[in-house]
Amino acid sequence: MSLFEQNFSVFLQGFGHTLLASIFALVGSLILGTIFAIMQVTNSRTARSIGNIYVQVFRNIPLLIITLFFYLAVAKVIKMTGFTAGTIALTLYTSAFIAESVRAGILSIEAGQMEGARANGLTFGQAMRVIILPQAFKVAIPSLGNQFINLVKNSSILAFVGGLDLMYQGNIVAANSFDTFTTYIIIGLFYLVITLPLSYYIQHLEHKLKKNA
């Protein structure tokens, strides 16, 4: 495994960028996705439309195009690196899918929970935060888990815009060493180092919540 040893620091740098982009995008898309999910279940027609348009736009355009849009167009106005452009695109793209998962979770909670809370004097926001969302997330966990794993794999989009991630570094190592097969095996294993513990943790969470229910 001399290829691995020789390029260890390069792989590690790629791994670090992939991990970082994944964490930023995960937190960001969870927050954004939840906001747009809530907008879609409010009584306000305007909020519902905005939420809906957002989800439809980012869910139905290839991630690569959103990434290039930020890297080529937006970066002209607001200076940003490929890493930043890619991470923003990944966040927006994933948040549309998360909004759908969270919205489905909210809709699965019986209407009586919201009515009980509102009749009890809570505002819509309080009822959402304290009563509806905690129950909705429980329901949405398997589907959110899928989105998070997809997100980590989709972060390879950064390679297209010089994002210094695993895939980007892998491409360089492969080009220099001519050993594409070994290089991409190593890259694949590095992705597993993130995605396997993530899958395991989500399964664990699912079992734990099932027991409590």
């Binding site: 929970q113 009749a119 009890n120 004097g121 505002t123 304290v130």
Partner: protein, 245 residues
């Protein structure tokens, strides 16, 4: 002073005329029972009082606030008007004690120690102090409903609305819930409006009985007058039907 006042209220669901020319005045401290066949608009009427249903026409004054006025902050009314539902609607993700303490904490900003003391007192009152740390899923229907009543009482409301509180309960559970409601009617000076099919409860507790059918109030009389000598043929028929059960 009237706590709740309907003036020529109309309510539609699409083409369906759910509330038809409703005029009704309930004074502070009164206990009023609302009866009628299913689909008569009883639940719709009671749900307009805390804004769970909106009215299309007329005026609805609750605790001095006009519900049909867009400027009215509905949360101010809900602070003072509690509701007990047919299906309890307890918070499934909170313990019994938390169910009771949540709204006083978030809405009234009641001191935490005081909040807990009041909540435990109320659980004591409904006979469920030993269930304080249980989750709602672990309770029977009757126990859930008594917790729901305690949750409403914790806000110290001026009025309490009961929307068929015993209709979803097994027969052996109904008595405990009605006992709790009876005590409230006897011991408190709250305004109570109860939609129910429990005629013995109505006879024992109500100051007044309102009979509804097809979205209209057909009869509004003192309890005694209503049960002894109902004037409306439909009320007579309804009474004979429910009393033969």
């Amino acid at each position: 002073m009237s706590m709740i006042e309907f003036k020529d209220v109309q309510k539609y669901y699409g083409d369906f005329h759910a509330l038809h020319d409703v005029n009704l005045k309930i004074d502070a401290g009164e206990t009023v029972v609302l009866i009628g066949p299913s689909g008569s608009g009883k639940s719709t009427l009671i749900r307009t009082i805390n804004g769970l249903e909106e009215i299309e026409e007329g005026q609805l004054l609750v605790d001095g606030f006009d519900l049909h006025d867009p400027k009215t902050d509905i949360n101010k009314i809900r602070k003072n008007v509690g509701m007990v539902f047919q299906h309890f609607n307890l918070y499934n993700n909170k313990t019994v004690l938390e169910n009771i303490m949540l709204a006083p904490r978030l809405v009234l900003h009641r001191d935490e120690a005081e909040n807990k003391r009041i909540a435990m007192e109320l659980l004591e009152q409904v006979g469920l102090a030993d269930k304080a740390n249980s989750m709602p899923a672990a309770l029977s229907g009757g126990q859930k409903q008594r917790v729901a009543i305690a949750r409403s009482l914790a806000m110290k409301p001026k009025a309490l609305l009961f929307d068929e509180p015993t209709s979803a309960l097994d027969p052996e559970m109904i008595g405990d819930v009605l006992d709790v409601m009876r005590d409230i009617a006897r011991d408190s000076d709250m305004t109570l409006l109860v939609v129910t099919h429990e005629m013995s409860f109505a006879k024992a507790v109500a100051d007044r009985v309102i009979f509804m059918a097809d979205g209209r109030i057909l009869e509004d009389s003192s309890t005694e007058a209503f049960f002894e000598n109902p004037t409306e043929p439909r009320a007579k028929k309804f009474l004979s039907q429910v009393e033969h059960h």
